[in-house]
Symmetry: C2
Subunit: 420 residues, 2 copies
Amino acid sequence: MPVVSAPPRVVVIGAGFGGLAAAKELAAVPVDVLLVDQRNYHTFQPLLYQVATAGLNAADVAYAVRGIFHHQPNVAFRQAKVTGADWSARRLLVDDGDPIPFEYLVVAAGATAAYFGIRGAAEHGLPLYTLADAAAVRNHVLSCFEAADRDPALVDDGALTFVIVGGGPTGVEVAGALAELFAKVLRKDFGRLEVSRAKVILVEMADQLLTPFSARSQRHALEALRARGVDVRLGEAVAEVTATTVCLRSGEVIPCRTLIWAAGVRANPVAEALGLEQAGAGRIVVGADLSVPGHHDVWAIGDVAASLGLDGRPLPQVAQVAIQGGKHAAHQIRRRLDGRSPAPFRYTDKGTMATIGRHAAVAELPGRIRLSGVLAWFAWLGLHVIMLMGFRNRLSVLLNWAWNYVTWDRGPRLIFRPEK
Amino acid sequence: MPVVSAPPRVVVIGAGFGGLAAAKELAAVPVDVLLVDQRNYHTFQPLLYQVATAGLNAADVAYAVRGIFHHQPNVAFRQAKVTGADWSARRLLVDDGDPIPFEYLVVAAGATAAYFGIRGAAEHGLPLYTLADAAAVRNHVLSCFEAADRDPALVDDGALTFVIVGGGPTGVEVAGALAELFAKVLRKDFGRLEVSRAKVILVEMADQLLTPFSARSQRHALEALRARGVDVRLGEAVAEVTATTVCLRSGEVIPCRTLIWAAGVRANPVAEALGLEQAGAGRIVVGADLSVPGHHDVWAIGDVAASLGLDGRPLPQVAQVAIQGGKHAAHQIRRRLDGRSPAPFRYTDKGTMATIGRHAAVAELPGRIRLSGVLAWFAWLGLHVIMLMGFRNRLSVLLNWAWNYVTWDRGPRLIFRPEK
């Protein structure tokens, strides 16, 4: 009788784009996969800004991890927060329950907001990286309007002034969506309030928005935001934040109750907890094949990893890098099992997009194809519909979008907080 | 030039079924309406049990109040919690902002869970009366499964034992929906856990479920629940609750981490804060016209009011009593403005329903029409579709239902808690 040994166990930390891609790609590999995440759902991060601006419900962009793998029997899930590793025993330490043994490990823990030591930013800034972050921004923005409706004098104190730091895609998207929310929806909700007094201020340190985009796209984004009434401050930075003000480096003090932080990210603290070597912004140092130096059976992918492009510069912290990295790590595990040598990771840039508002977006696709305006907006819509195809909530998302598009209304503007 | 005086101001406390009905009915009356609620959304309470059991998303049963009144210019909204009244100055005191003056007042503040002084019940019991309650139940139930998956030994300690107290419609609906959630969905989600060891226990003090229903409906509900594996304990009550046990009056101690409290309600504490005379369960004493004795211009309606039926007994705390009461209060205000005398409130029983699970429900309609099984289930579905017609989220609800029906899956099984 032949001895049947258990298949080797791959542990994947993080159920973001990278972790899901790795686990899915391991479907046909003779391994047991354990996906570990502190939340029981995947967050579709590119649409978090729509949750923050009441365009979508929180549940529209979150997908129960266990449901995603109903039809992939070699994937199990464990809800836990990774707190460290016992490398000699090949076990992960977690906040709740026994350590988790592994033979291969894929670290795909993502990123978190970076405040660069700016005073008050961590305390008063609202990041936009998790579902709870997005719900908190929505609750806060709508509560500011309720407060101003109660006491219009608060508007002079900045109750309706919303500062966004960071002119990358997230900052641009939030600024555009907030301006539309105010002008199209809240103007009707708050009939007795001068909603036109609400201000959206976008602060960007560089001299242009959307730094990695072409100059034409940058101009289009700037014009489209300004046309929507967004006050864009280029070559400007935040120096200090208090509960009631944002102080800019130029010395200007903006009375304001809301600072949305889209200025930068750093690697998830798991990178530190694991004790792996970190590069800039806490990202885990990886080799050309995405394996971690000194840890032969460990790969790091996506936002948490300092993977380098062919030009020797770190790859951007975007979904495509994580997805392709996750697939690559899965392929490396298969190669290892097959006794083949590792292969280097080659990132294929599939383009990048940002949407500013209804009928306004910029898209830069391979082959120097640059779209802007209505065409880019429909390209953005189409791409996200395709990306959502794999998920159950896509119909709900489409329904919300269709409703918002046709009626200029937004349904999900609830101030919902657990009360216990 | 004629002197134009401002229309009199009606303040409505509570944006539940009663408060909304009153405000809507005042559309054609020359008054200014201010609707006051501590939340900025209406909660469609009959479907809360579906949020608690992952059949619907929280946002599916919540509707922004301001959106409901976009097309009714005489209604304004104020998000605030009422903390008392200055009756001589005719002003309501609130937790946030200036007191609210009124000329007419409709108290429609609803109810809250009543624990009847049972030790540990308020501390450990999970009520099911607000959206946050429902989300908390869902988070808790799913977290119990995650814990048991992590450490199956916890099942012996009651990690998968779910006790529901109260065999009225809410208790019956939660018990049935939980049993289906476990058998049809979580069994697939937790492939390595013996989900069949999960227990749903429904405890009811009376000798039958659904006390106000006919004996035939009661029997049907009992059989349908038992067929789904629910352990129904009739003539039994909870004596004490701890973090890890539920002690029954019979002396039995059930190891258990979850007690869902559907055993009874009492009037919202606003009734007490307003200093109005209270009858049983804290309900505000009202006259035949629903006005409050000694307060000529104040009406109380729905769950918060002790309105009496023609038989002299208090009316049930259900949506129809609140809706009809709200309309009645609006009509009384109109009569007052027209110089007419008050009219008594006549409640029309439009029937009552409870759903036990897929294809299983009971319905008792006027004219002694009693439905059970598939027919009652479709009647329930049809009624709720009609009730939801007035709300924006109805398509999302239908979509979720259709998905659940066709796939036997449930999308919204997220453990989502704000993290900050």
